[in-house]
């Protein structure tokens, strides 16, 4: 039986704080996030970055898993078209994302909860704007709460 989502992070206390899981590619977006740091740009603390070598490494399963396990949104950051450190990884990522977006829609998951952004190593400021913008949009949408079937099961099977 699937495990139940349990939320106990301090970020969770008080009013709703969106939780965004991000997959940043090692060469562009992760560097951009580092640049945002060295430039001391301030942005919303709601994002948790998982480093991958290339946006092409991001398996759609990762995205669903994050959403299923309590993320309110997922952000993928990769190099701009033509800039991929591995030449084409970001295009592969884009191919999957195009279809995944249609699927998320069918699942009734609002499109603002999933985003693919091209952010180059020079665009520290874009990290800030994208994260802030996404956090605000997701905040407006409220919690995703995909625990439904399990909770319902628990109650209906009782």
């Amino acid at each position: 039986m699937p495990e139940l989502v349990q939320i106990s992070s301090p970020v969770e206390e008080g009013p709703f704080e969106p939780r965004i899981v991000a997959f940043f590619c090692n060469w562009c977006t992760y560097l951009a996030a580092d640049l945002a740091g060295t430039s001391r740009l301030k942005y919303a603390p709601n994002i948790r970055v998982i480093r991958v070598m290339c946006s092409g490494r991001v398996d759609p399963q990762f995205i669903l898993d994050a959403l299923a396990k309590g993320a309110d949104g997922v952000l993928i950051g990769g190099c701009h078209p033509g800039d991929c450190h591995y030449q084409e990884g970001n295009y592969k990522a884009y191919r999957r994302v195009v279809v995944l977006k249609r699927m998320l829609h069918d699942w009734g998951i609002e499109e603002d909860r999933f985003r693919l952004e091209w952010i180059s190593a020079a665009e520290g400021d874009k990290v800030r704007t994208v994260v802030n913008d996404m956090v605000e949009k997701v905040r407006a949408l409220g919690p995703l709460k995909l625990g439904v079937p399990q909770e319902e099961f628990a109650e209906e099977m009782a």
Binding site: M1, Q61, V98, I109, E110, K137, L141
Partner: protein
């Protein structure tokens, strides 16, 4: 009654195809019956629930349960059989993954009733009568099974020992399964009783697949005259063989039909649909964003295509209730 091992067959939310798989044993069934006693098989034999309830716990060697869990009755029977059996096998795609009935998870109970009891053109139901679990009619009381909001896999309801995949499983599979169980050489609990490789492994058209296959266009079967011995993907047809567990002897391919994934994923894959989609979408032949979108738009109904048999077993088993518009 003899002391032959006792076996029960039961069906939940299913089409009956899995029963056919057993019946398809044909004359072989006699050999099977020679080895075992069938204590429950609603589709073919007249045993009742109370017969099972009367049996001692664990006295049934194996229960083959097919179909997904849609109603309270199915859940009750599942629990009952679990109690009475040493082994419970999820038999067929519906029990293992939710199967076709699982696609109902795109709607909730209310929406389904709305359609079935009101909106279909042939429905005439001015009183808006709905099935009720308990209803009274001059002194008589009628009870019906409860209808869950969500379709569940068998494993979500009870503890399952083994899985027999397929929609339906091939006729040799029940027989093989029984033999395995009786042989005493048991695979680890939770095993899917089929090879842990993708279908391409046993696909007769395997060699016809080019090394670097990329698609400019995804085609649907009615758009092409499908060649008999050429890899279907190479012909532009979405074939899920690469993502689907082997063991079906590539029967659909044999019938010149693309694999639609009824055997589910290999043990290494967490979410069948997502993985299958990743593989199929990844071979879109373009590095231009607009063109990529155009090519992939040709994939009809991604959910229906990639989750045809496995929505309830996926990471996100049902449609999110109440959707907010985008801010």
């Amino acid at each position: 009654m003899s002391d032959k091992p006792k076996v029960a067959f039961y069906w939940c939310a299913s089409c009956g195809g899995c029963e056919e798989a057993v019946v398809d044993l044909a004359e072989k069934i006699l050999d099977v019956v020679g080895l075992i006693d069938i204590v429950l098989w609603p589709v073919a034999m007249d045993f009742k629930r109370k017969d099972i309830e009367a049996m001692a716990d664990g006295s049934i060697t194996a229960s083959f349960i097919n179909g997904a869990i849609r109603t309270t009755e199915q859940a009750e029977m599942a629990h009952l059989l679990r109690r009475k059996s040493q082994f419970v096998l999820a038999f067929g795609a519906c029990a293992q993954l939710g199967g076709i009935p699982g696609l109902a998870n795109f709607w909730n109970r209310e929406e389904i009733f709305q359609t079935v009891y009101q909106e279909t053109p042939t429905t005439n139901n001015p009183a808006n009568t709905r099935p009720e679990q308990v209803s009274h009619d001059n002194g008589h009381t009628l009870t019906l099974p409860g209808f869950y909001n969500t379709v569940f896999t068998l494993a979500e309801v009870i503890d399952v020992d083994y899985y027999v995949p397929g929609c339906p499983p091939t006729p040799k599979m029940p027989a093989d399964t029984v033999t395995t169980l009786l042989s005493g050489k048991l695979p680890p609990k939770g095993t899917v009783l089929a090879p842990d490789q993708a279908l391409c492994e046993e696909c007769p058209r395997k060699d016809s697949k080019p090394d670097k296959l990329l698609l400019k266009e995804y085609k649907r079967p009615h758009q092409v005259l499908i060649e008999e011995d050429k890899c279907l993907l190479a012909q532009g047809i979405i074939c899920l063989g690469p993502a689907t567990r082997a063991g079906c002897e590539a029967r659909c391919i044999g019938g010149n039909m693309a694999c639609t994934g009824c055997f589910g994923p290999t043990s290494r894959v967490l979410d069948y649909g997502a993985k299958a989609m990743s593989a199929i979408a990844s071979i879109a032949d373009s590095n231009d964003e607009r063109e990529i979108e155009k090519i992939l738009a040709k994939i009809p109904d991604p959910m229906g295509t990639f989750y045809r048999y496995s929505l309830p077993a996926s990471l996100i088993p049902r449609k999110k209730t109440e959707v907010k518009a985008n801010a």
